[in-house]
């Protein structure tokens, strides 16, 4: 209800500038994934300000999907039919994005997904669905390539949450390691929010893997690492694929997060135009470190709004504009291309980072590196 009123208020305030581009945002603002959703919200807010500076008025219609696909879908229906938005930026999670992508196609609303990892989303041949971030296969390959370039790991254990994000990332990772001749010694999917992973981790420990590959959101990432330390799981490297392993909260838990290797879509110390300034501005404005989601959301909103403006608020023209365009900004070069079975997918360069002295330091690719990698993982204290 409150959101309705806010939207109404915003309409009244903005009604003088009728030329405002109406763009929908679906995001996870409440519920368990909300802490990451907050980054997306903040990124979009900064984009809104910058757009205004460029003379592009946007009228955003915010929808909260609470991380549930069914709510995300009804939000999309509402945005497409009732609010008549030009395009939509969001949703956050893979499960929601996957569900919403089909609706975007049905209503022919250009959908720009900022940070969902599941590969299939842009592999369905949908014309109206675009994605900013690199999909799950890149998470896996960049992490495993990093490990093989740092040492000589032979075996790997997988532990991941049994959601779209977890299973899809792990599936491609498994294919990749099999090709590279690794031995997969454990493959465990866990239900999100379990209090106790000790037994599972003890079992993995008994297989003595060289690499432990984990896919989780924030809270589980911390619990998994805590309990790994408890049971004394000691691989050559802990590889954390995305989400939970790349947040400031995780890095803050120094006793267990130090030296964990993860990959990310973005850090503020890469030399992509505006990345540093964005990081600084975000910190002064919101008092927190931005995660890559914030940058993805920022760039997505800028691109969506600019394209919508250029096509005069027409959905089909906006879609064609997104398909034809090329941008360079805080996410590096962006182009929605068709390759390897993907459609409208930005072929984004992933960065591999490691937590060193409590900070995320980029370790690979070497042209972006800020610190030398620590390998193998030091003995637990």
């Amino acid at each position: 209800m409150r959101k309705r009123f806010l939207a109404l208020g915003a309409t009244l305030v903005l009604s003088p500038c009728l030329l405002a581009q109406k763009i929908g945002v679906i995001n996870t603002m409440t519920g368990p994934e909300a802490p990451i959703g907050e980054n997306i919200t903040n990124g979009i807010k900064l984009a809104e300000e910058d757009l205004l500076k460029k003379g592009i008025h946007v009228q955003l219609v915010w929808e909260d999907d609470t991380g549930k696909p069914q709510i995300s879908m009804s939000a999309m229906e509402k945005l497409a039919t009732r609010d008549n938005v030009v395009g939509v930026v969001g949703p956050y999670t893979s499960a929601c994005s996957n569900a919403v992508s089909k609706l975007a196609e049905k209503y022919r609303v250009p959908l720009l997904i900022p940070a969902a990892a599941k590969e299939e989303i842009t592999r369905q041949g949908l014309k109206n669905v675009f994605r900013m971030n690199a999909p799950a296969d890149k998470y896996a390959s960049s992490l495993i390539d990093a490990a093989t370039s740092l040492g000589k790991p032979k075996s790997i254990a997988f532990i991941y949450e049994n959601t779209d994000f977890g299973t899809s990332t792990t599936k491609t990772a498994k294919e990749y390691v099999t090709k590279k001749g690794f031995q997969v010694v454990a493959d465990v999917a866990y239900p999100k929010g379990s209090a106790d992973y000790r037994s599972t981790l003890a079992q993995i420990k008994s297989k003595n893997p060289d690499l432990v590959f984990m896919v989780s959101y924030v809270a589980d990432a911390i619990l998994l690492m805590r309990q790994s330390r408890e049971v004394g799981l000691q691989p050559q490297a802990f590889l954390g694929a995305g989400a939970g392993f790349t947040t400031a909260e995780f890095a803050k838990e120094r006793a267990i997060s130090e030296n964990v290797i993860s990959c990310t879509q973005w850090t503020e110390d890469v030399n992509w135009p505006g990345a540093k300034e964005f990081g600084k501005r975000y910190k002064t404005r919101f008092g927190k470190e931005p995660s890559y989601h914030a940058a993805c959301a920022y760039a997505s909103m800028i691109i969506m709004a600019e394209t919508a403006k250029a096509s005069g608020g027409d959905r089909t023209k906006t879609r064609d504009g997104l398909k034809a365009g090329k941008w360079n900004g805080i996410m590096g070069e962006v182009q929605f291309a068709d390759y390897d079975g993907f459609n409208n997918q930005n072929n984004h360069q992933m960065l591999v980072q490691q937590i060193i002295s409590g900070n995320y330091e980029t370790i690979l690719p070497s042209r972006f590196a800020t610190k030398k990698a620590v390998y193998p993982f030091p003995k637990w204290k």
Partner: protein, 288 residues
């Protein structure tokens, strides 16, 4: 073998906390025949009390039980006096709606105050362990919480079996009307029972917080678990709830290792159905 021992041990330790949650629910049901759907949310309130005590006052989560227990007792007593007492004689659906409503109010109020961010308590011993030997390690916070749980459960047994008030509560649970005829103030017993139930749930929340994470919707997970435990053990049976809690803890832990983490809930529910199939009144329940 080490893996088996490790998972058995963590199962028993986690099960102890589950038992505490189950006992609270079963106590409330036994005395009032009200199914408390807000049980998980009460536990969540206990978690946030612990969180506040830890962050604002610097009180260790385990020490904070001394504050959480009485506060949650008062909170439970208040809920009983103001809300639950009014629907004691109403149809079951109304009682269920009331407790669900109370739970929703609790979780949403907490969300307004604290936002839905995860809170994680980091104590000096959060990920420390005690080596038992044979490659088996026990999580220190889990062990402490198990010891506290055992102490509280023992004290509760003593209270229910030996004290006058405890016997009056049990009498009320056995037959409300007869108890009233014998001169027992059943309204008062109800308040005490609900207070105790809430205090136990809140304490369980406090005990889990050092090893788990805290967020406003955390209650749902535990409400469901509490039900399975209570029904498994036999509605209203304190011994049954203790047994049920430990059993569920062990089942979860072992099935995560020997079947699959993703299937552990399925195993728990299959076990639950089997027990109900062969002993419909639960493990320690008296057949109606």
């Amino acid at each position: 073998m080490a893996v088996f021992m490790q998972s058995l041990l963590s199962g028993i330790l986690i099960g102890g906390v589950y038992a505490l949650i189950g006992i609270g629910l079963t106590l409330i049901f036994g005395v009032m025949r009200v199914i408390n759907f807000a049980h998980g949310d009460i536990l969540m309130v206990g978690m946030y009390l612990t969180y506040l005590a830890f962050t604002l006052l610097g009180i260790d989560p385990f020490v904070s039980v001394l504050i959480t227990f009485p506060l949650m007792f008062l909170f439970g007593g208040f809920l009983q006096k103001v809300f639950i007492n009014r629907v004691l004689n109403a149809v079951a659906q109304n009682q269920i709606l009331l407790t669900i409503g109370l739970g929703l109010i609790m979780s949403n109020t907490v969300m307004l105050i604290f936002t839905s961010d995860y809170k994680i308590l980091t104590t000096s011993y959060s990920s420390s362990t005690i080596k038992v030997g044979g490659g088996v390690a026990v999580s220190t916070p889990l062990l402490i919480s198990f010891l506290i749980t055992s102490a509280i459960t023992a004290a509760l047994y003593w209270f229910l079996l030996k004290t006058d008030t405890g016997q009056a509560i049990r009498a009320t649970a056995q037959d409300r009307d007869a108890a009233q005829l014998m001169g027992i103030n059943v309204k008062r017993m109800s308040i005490i029972a609900f207070g105790l139930g809430a205090a136990l749930a809140g304490t369980a929340g406090a005990l889990i917080s050092p090893t788990y994470y805290i967020f406003p919707q955390v209650g749902a997970v535990f409400t469901l678990k509490a039900f399975v435990i209570t029904v498994l053990g036999g509605m209203g049976s304190v011994v049954g709830a203790t047994l049920g809690g430990v059993l569920i803890g062990i089942t979860e832990s072992l099935s995560a290792v020997y079947i699959s983490s993703g299937w552990k809930d399925v195993v728990v529910f299959v076990l639950f159905l089997l027990v109900l199939l062969f002993k419909p009144s639960g493990l320690m329940g008296k057949s109606a």
